[in-house]
Symmetry: C2
């Protein structure tokens, strides 16, 4: 293992770490950044160790931090100590956590998803807000979903904002990306396991979402924040459900819709004998 | 009515409008900013007209925009035409909407809330994220809540971020602010109407949230993003409910928890004979 101290803002490593806040640099390097002892401990316990661990030299000692350091060292990773100011610069946060880690991005091909491994999956189509995406990951963890499938052009699940909003679920939830046509044929391919049920929140020919005939593995899909789901995507769903809209608005925030629907699927499938 | 053209970035009106993005200036002036034709139309239809309407001189004509202009003019309001660049500067958005409005803040004292007017109310305690707050307003509109009550030190519901995330619900939902002690005595005061039922999502002595014994008017309370609700607030609730947490995480995003619980309350009270 290597261990070193960095105190200069213009150090090339600092620049490289900071660049991971931009999508093009994440893509080029295949790496992403996650912050916080709790989040990095979750990651470790799920078998994900950072390649590089960045520690604040003003940190307080903590048994979990020592365990993390030891694990990264044993794994041949790099440990960098630096100042709180430089950590703030790297993470873009005024009051940075005392620790951050650089992780290799995961394999996000659809082929790596075993859809029979969970009863519920979340699906986001062209979701543009990384906070919504991270929140969906966090909700997926809570409802026991297997993961989140990103259809078409979504925000980056490895962005700092998405990782932060996921509260560690980026490490517990499987993440896959696919164009709609690939997703649809994968979902309908009997060679890939029991057929998935695709469910959309919709106003078109929809039935009430409460106790609807959900079946597993159930794929709960929400669409883009402004445009919603394309009509042909909705019509390709096995089930369209509608949630009460009692006020003036005709839609919910996308992450809210996924959560209300996801919890309903969980309650409905668990209530069955 | 007054109508004028502004083309200079350093115009004092531009500076004053732009300052409304900061809480201290909103507080000093008692004014806030809302953007977008849809949102301003919602506001108008709910009886809220901007004191000042700011129009992009590159706007496309639209019957709703003409209706809005006419209403503001008839109400003695001011109409300002300016460039898209200046609108972008005022709203802090790269691709600004073609219209923005300056509104007088509403009366947010608890005394103005008629709790018998709705079956559901949302309550946020020390919620710090204006996006979460705006999303709760949007969800409140969807579940037919009467409004959102802000306990202790919350983010500003009239911030640009909260207004934007509310998607217009800032104009349809009653907003009130109160310290905890004032809220509690108001809620228990028989002179203010039927006693409210205070419900918290909790892990302490909680029962399953599904079909729990909710009664109206039901006040659904969520706590601060990091710390949750203080224990004594939770213990003062009439009902503590818990949502399944199937994964590693032990909490949901605050706006998500409020929505899942709010929709459950709506479904449960509507299912009763």
């Amino acid at each position: 293992m290597t261990r070193r101290q960095i105190t200069g803002f213009s150090n090339p490593t600092v620049k490289a770490l900071r660049a991971l806040r931009e999508k093009k640099h994440r893509k080029a390097s295949g790496r992403f950044l996650a912050e916080g002892l709790r989040l990095l401990t979750d990651a470790r316990e799920c078998g994900h160790l950072p390649e590089t661990l960045v520690l604040s030299d003003a940190r307080d000692g903590h048994p979990l931090l020592e365990a993390l350091e030891a694990a990264v060292a044993a794994n041949g990773g790099e440990i960098i100590e630096t100042t709180p100011d430089i950590l703030a610069k790297i993470t873009g946060k005024d009051n940075p956590q005392a620790v951050a880690g650089v992780f290799a991005e995961f394999d996000t091909t659809l082929e790596t998803v075993d859809r029979g491994s969970s009863d519920i999956w979340l699906v986001a189509q062209a979701l543009r807000d990384p906070g919504n995406l991270g929140t969906m990951l966090r909700t997926g963890d809570a409802i026991g979903a297997g993961g989140l499938i990103l259809i078409d052009d979504c925000a980056d699940p490895f962005s700092v904002e998405a990782v932060r909003a996921s509260m560690g679920a980026v490490f517990t939830q499987k993440i896959a990306k696919a164009p709609w046509a690939d997703f649809e044929s994968w979902l309908r391919d009997p060679a890939k396991g029991a057929p998935g049920q695709l469910v959309a929140a919709s106003l078109r020919e929809a039935q009430p979402y409460r106790n609807a005939p959900y079946r597993t593995p159930c794929f709960v899909m929400v669409g883009n924040e402004s445009r919603g789901l394309p009509e042909d995507y909705e019509m390709a769903c096995d089930l369209r459900v509608t949630m009460p809209m009692m006020g003036r608005a005709d839609s919910l925030n996308a992450a809210i819709a996924a959560a209300v629907l996801g919890y309903e699927v969980l309650a409905t499938i668990n209530a069955r004998p």
